[in-house]
Amino acid sequence: MSAPRARALLQVSELSKTFGGLEAVSDVSFEVREGQIKALIGPNGAGKTTIFNLLTSVLPADAGSAQYDGHELLRLPTYRVAALGIGRTFQTSLLFDQMTVLENVMVGHHLHGHTNMITAALRIFGASAEEREYRELAMDALGNAGLADLAGRPASELPIGQRRLVEVARALASEPRLLLMDEPAAGLNMRETERMGEIIQQTREGGVTVLLVEHDMSLVMSISDEILVLDGGRRLAEGPPEQIRNDERVLAAYLGEEALD
């Protein structure tokens, strides 16, 4: 799957961001190749989530570039980044709490719908058909994720494990080519983490490239094709899991944090 010859889907060059005097991300370059599962790891404050925020224009970058499939991401508004085929899940599972689980996933289809306010209000030009179609698609997606019996529940009622699964289902409903996942296993128990690992691998098999920030090292080591290690906003090491596991600089950075493996 991760043949080194595959072309780069995302090419990040010399990305930098400072908060006040603090260099959160400095001069970070890396690429994500099509079909890869790539992990960003590093101690707390290494700048992993900041990189996600820069790539999705949640924060403006100070310098650098991020080329995705021929487009420069860094100056696009967030919704345009999404339209290019980049999905994202959040550390805190940002579900739409006032809506049902099914409606959450239906919002995931937004980019592929055409109904506007006028056609929706008048139910003309296929608005009803589109509504039915997306309701069924969303129901299928929930079924595949094993969440079908939660469809009508308000999202606010779900425990964290299910929230994460719904968020992934919602992100996949937008049919991204690249999915950025911010700590998908945070707060999950061992069984749920394993399930999340399977889902991430299935996602890749479905043709989606995955860039992952994760603290759970056994998960990262077991599913990633390549790992980029950050420390203090800088690139520390990059390579396949076996190489990272034995890298002395990485071990030193993590000393006192958590053991690798």
Binding site: P77, L94, L95, E103, H110, T115, L150, G152
Partner: protein
Amino acid sequence: MNATAETQPQPVAENEALVMARRRRAQKLQILSLFALVIVLPLAVRNSYYIHVIIFIGLNLILATGLNLLMGYAGQVSLGHAAFFGIGAYASGILTATYGWNAWPAMLAALVVTCLVAWLVGRPTLRLKGHYLAMATLGVGIIVSVVLRQWVDLTGGPAGMKTTGITTFGWELRSDADVHYYYFVWGWVCVLTILFANLVESRPGRALRALHDSELAAQILGIDTAAFKVRAFVISAAYASIAGTLYAHSSMRFISPTPFGFQTSIALLVMVVLGGQGTLWGPVVGAVTITFIQEFLRPFGEWEIVVYGLILMVLMVVMPGGLARGLGMLWHWGRERVGRLRAARAGGGA
């Protein structure tokens, strides 16, 4: 039904789909029963004063429904919604009375003017984070109020102006029988309520509710949140404009600046919050309650606004979700209790 669901895990999902379909059908049924009530009400209420009040409930309901789209779904506040009501009323009033237009094209022209003003106000302010729209609409409210009073040549100033009736292909809506206007206004209420219900349960409606919950998560799914907020604002202004036109051509055949001032803007806000933002029934509950309060407090003038303040304060403490939601919760609680009692009795019997 229950037995099969317990023995086989598969039908659970199907049951879930059924439950949701039933919920949607129940909502349709609720709307239809409201319409049925609208049709038979004049048969029961013969008193023309009450018919008049119910017409006002209809106008307030149109206004509150529009504002509900903005507040309850897009999460933005308009503090000058009466201004759009006023633009709608005066634009069609002036075009018909002064320039001799037919009421229908005048209504359309008023709608275009109102939407344009809303778009010009909403586009720059809704791109910013925070409640800038509330500030901007407060300004619009003041400006419109001043223009209606000062531009005497056009509006007749504080003394107001006479308007005309509505003529459709040579057939004039009779002014002497309020019941005709009642059906006319409530016909509009029904149509605009259906459009609203359709909109809310659709791609753009979900986009609005989504951005209300989390703007970031909405944007990451490709929703241009600023654009959707502007559209919601324009539509809410359009609803106000239609209500304005209906008001201008009502049987009084007269408009003055007073109903389009700050006090009405606040009353509309209270209707939406009292009824329950983001619910289909909230505006109904709010419009009925506030219209009666308005009628009751008419002799007391400025005290009206004090009452609104009190309502808001008490509501925030006791029922922050609004009356429609609170009553709904009470209803479900009651039904559950009855169900449990029945189950207990059946269990005891067996």
